[in-house]
């Protein structure tokens, strides 16, 4: 899995590539929490377009990121969810608590 950070309007986009599973969710969690808690970025956009698979540990990291952003008064915004990722979100019944957009343009305009 690869994580690349780039600046965007009002925040940072984290481009994730690969699978977010037990082997890699700790790295995503670390990057996410660093952006939210340490850098205090007001908007963190998570680009999941190139994520082929996410497991429950990945979802748990997203929930942790969401809680951290709420604590900081910032926003965590997800976009580009593949069918597989959407399916797991629906199974977890957590899709409604996340701010999810189809594309980067929509996410940035939100």
């Amino acid at each position: 899995m690869q994580i690349v950070a780039r600046l965007a309007t009002g925040g940072t986009i984290l481009d994730i590539t690969g699978d977010i599973d037990l082997a890699h969710s700790p790295a995503m969690r670390k990057a996410l929490l660093q952006e939210i808690r340490e850098k205090k970025t007001p908007k963190v956009f998570l680009n999941l377009e190139k994520v082929r698979y996410i497991d429950s540990s990945g979802i748990a990291s997203l929930v942790e990121g969401l809680k951290a952003s709420r604590d900081q008064g910032s926003r965590l915004i997800l976009f580009g969810l593949s069918k597989t990722v959407r399916e797991v979100m629906e199974l977890s019944r957590l899709q409604k608590i996340f701010e999810i957009h189809d594309s980067e343009a929509q996410a940035l305009g939100s």
Partner: protein, 151 residues
């Protein structure tokens, strides 16, 4: 026996197992959504073994075997797949098998829900110092089979 794998409790192995199980499910002619469900269940079950039964220690043994269920069984008119995972970790506590409530918004506790939602049969047991997890997924009836059953 369709497939037998001897693994170690290393999370890096999960992507290889997912690819292997995906191919096995395709060979058995599961639909895409069913294949994803099987892959997800095996991945979550192995992750549970690594995290809970082995407490995150790498290099410990896990056996996985997949068996094709033939057509015409009691619950398997269309056949299916049976997956058995065996580990030598600590006994799985019944309370740990409940998973968390969907109403709770907190990290963790989702893996078992994913498995139970994705598979038709899920059975935990402990035999001779080993944890056994048996999971079964049946093939959905083809439209032709469903139509002939309804006649």
């Amino acid at each position: 026996m369709l497939l037998k794998l001897e693994l170690q409790s290393n999370p890096e192995a999960l992507c290889l197992v997912r690819a292997t199980v995906e191919r096995a499910a395709e060979v058995l002619q599961f639909h895409d959504a069913e294949t994803r469900a099987i892959v997800r269940s095996v991945d979550e079950a192995l992750a549970n073994v690594m995290r809970h039964a082995y407490g995150g220690r790498p290099g410990l043994p896990i056996e996985m075997s997949c068996r094709r269920l033939e057509h015409g069984g009691q619950n398997a008119a269309q056949g299916g797949i049976e997956i058995l995972l065996v580990d030598k970790g600590v006994p799985v506590k019944p309370s740990a098998l409940k998973g968390r409530s969907f109403d709770e918004i907190r990290p963790g506790g989702l893996g078992l829900h994913f498995i139970r939602q994705s598979m038709d049969e899920v059975e935990f047991s402990r035999k001779k110092g080993k944890n056994l997890l048996r999971m079964v997924k049946y093939l959905s009836p083809t439209p032709q089979a469903a139509a002939s059953e309804g006649e």
